[in-house]
Amino acid sequence: MSPQEIRQVIIDILADIAPDEDLSTLKDDQSFRDQMELDSMDFLDIVMELRKRYRVQVPEEDYPQLDSMATTVSYLTPKMATCA
């Protein structure tokens, strides 16, 4: 999966867990939390959906990597390289 495809995966997950948010204006280099109403349970939703949809595991110590779209895509690119 390319970084652009991974970005779309995250957008799709965010659209499900935060359906009231306008994601078209999301800035990739800013923290998700600064732009959206996301709490710790929402971040666990992102982790769960990556696990369910792509069998990708994000251990707790890596959660800070999911801070912004840019850091998330960068973190997931090697993990999801073989994902279809």
Binding site: I17, P19, D20, M41, M48, K52
Partner: protein, 418 residues
Amino acid sequence: MTYPNPADLPDSQRIVITGIGLTSPNGNSLSEMRDGLLNGKSGISDYEIRYFGKTIAGVCDFEIKKYQSRKDARRGTRAGSVGVWCANEAIVHSGIDWDNFDKSRVGVYVGVTEHGNVETETEIYEISQYDYDCQFWSHHHNPRTVANNPAGEIALHLSITGPHYTIGAACAAGNAGLIQAVQMLRLGECDLALAGGCSESIHTFGIFAGFNSQNALATHLDPTKASRPFDKDRNGIVVSEGGCLYTIERLEDAKKRNANIVAEIVGYGMNTDATDFVLPNAERQSQCMQMALNRAHLSPEQIDIVSTHATGTGQGDILEATAVHTVFGGCEKTLINNTKSFIGHTMGAAGALELAGNLPSFDDGVVHPTINVDTFDSDCPAINLVQNEAREVGKVEYILNSSFGMLGINSCVIVKRP
């Protein structure tokens, strides 16, 4: 025990209903529901649910987005959404200045038959898609299934910081919620109660399968004719979802804000059969009715309407008719009706919703009927059942509302014309 006559109580101990919010299978407001009850409109339809398959049920179609964000609805439960809808509607109906009301003095008391089955079934289904690997079990499961969930979602949504909890009382829960509110208001534990009952039961296949295995689930080619309490050809319960919450206050507070008083709660009773897991006990039910009458300082013939619990099961209806006959058999003026014949069994909401459907009788002087009674079951003792057509009676002064549940829990509430 001798209780004080409610008419002699100071206004600080007299408890009144000042607002109603509801969703039922035949309407999302009291006026819609009442219209259905007076015009014979059933809310029962075909329904299908995972594993169990095709059946019939009472489904609610209130507009969730009116009060909840999509995210909050997704985060919470169906019972929570039902509760949030009803609580908001009740507050609007009450005319309370909500923005300036002290939220720490509001109590939320929500009756539930059960809670958590829907979410647990859903999670088990989810992990079945992943070979039952528990790492796919949702982190939302616990906050969704804690027993206080529907009441807690209401408190969270409305920023209420007073006490909130649910009252697990099987199908007597709606009345139990009201009774809890009366007691807490009299004790001064809150200044306003949001109380009644909520049910999301149609979203758990287990309730259908359980009643079916008990030979107690209604079937009929025409869903609108499936719920037929007291009819000879009844064959079980129609499961429904629904909710009804009231704003309840002390009379002195209601007067102070010049509230529209819908009814005064003048009597209640709760007791237990202690005889069987599922089979009701007519003697205990009649005792419960008598307890409510004693508390209200009323004789049976003073009750204008008895709103029955009857669910359409073979034994249950006979036993309740026996209890009603025992208490009201000699009362020519007292009329009996049943709301489940229209909306099915809304479980934890039933007591509160069925009372609500009868409250407009104070204004319109009409008693709504029990529909689908083609032939009154001759195994039931004679009761003054209003069958199939609404009846104009003129002034209605008192209504007694019964709700009974499994494990032998009985509840009755008596309300008085304001």
